[in-house]
Symmetry: C2
Subunit: 208 residues, 2 copies
Amino acid sequence: MELYFSPLACSLATRIALYESDQPARFTRVDLSTKKTEDGGDYLAINPLGQVPVLETDEGDVLYENGAILQYVAERQPDAELVPRDGRARTRLQQWLSFLGSEIHKVVFAPLVDATSNDGARDYARSKIPSRFSRLAQHLGDREFLLDGFTVADAYLTTMLNWTALTGPDLGDWPALKAYHQRQLARPGLGRAVSEERALYFAEAKRS
Amino acid sequence: MELYFSPLACSLATRIALYESDQPARFTRVDLSTKKTEDGGDYLAINPLGQVPVLETDEGDVLYENGAILQYVAERQPDAELVPRDGRARTRLQQWLSFLGSEIHKVVFAPLVDATSNDGARDYARSKIPSRFSRLAQHLGDREFLLDGFTVADAYLTTMLNWTALTGPDLGDWPALKAYHQRQLARPGLGRAVSEERALYFAEAKRS
């Protein structure tokens, strides 16, 4: 497998899933501003929308979209149980992946991190934070995970909660969410993925 | 099963999936402005975000999110093949459901149909239309469906293409997308679902 990623972008969720399930992969870095891969290749030829992640499978399938890629990676290593085996729990996983990909990623964060956004779009995104974050906090309470055990949905949510350090809001306003975030970062596989990408991110920031 | 819906909202995709797979359900209408169900119930007690669809299963599970509800409904009636049985095709379905739920629904349409939006957010949403609609048109070409046969992803996309009549853009700018939309509307199950909700929508518009 080959994962196209950008440090600390949402593609980090797939790196977490790979580490948490002990699956090897090749990681190819993408410069999201120039849309070039680290070897100078044209990333738009791989993904016309220029977004990460893209996962190229060993069978040569080119997959887009966090929700699909995360489930694919998890299903390749069922023993790691990053997706639940039970049908009802699987439906719940799909519900959370869908909620995270739409209401949290695209409604809240996308306009806040996109340089082509504008003040109105950012205000609108911020107006959606209280209801969405409260929904998450209310569900989590003192649950350890979104479902009964650690799943790819936790990999995705943790990846986005990292962004609040740059974009706001202050997670202190949702203690259940802040505690959840800290607990996830303490996981060895997840923590290693975050540290590695953080190092890449700050090395790049220092250079430019 | 009980589907909470609002006429022509994204919950229409689930009605389409139910009709296309000949599954009975109870349909309960929600007034999205007052957040009341048709019998005067408090819809926020069912879904704190006040969005449709919600599907209550026969086992009493309350499901949110189009992506999860559509897969759940499709899997209850495997013979209708509204989700592909093959694993690789299933991953592709999840990719398209994720793309539709995030890039088309939440990035493009949500700010255009939400009364609490603002001009900046609407401009930002419109700026995303060419790349997203071209991606769809380029994939569709003269394909009949997003995948090899009709799936719940087509139910979802058709539901949103209906909205362009009110929000723009002109589908004539993407002939492959316009032709696809017309072909889907000609399907008996899908067409019946659209006609019924259109009648409910205009009866309500006339009353108010």
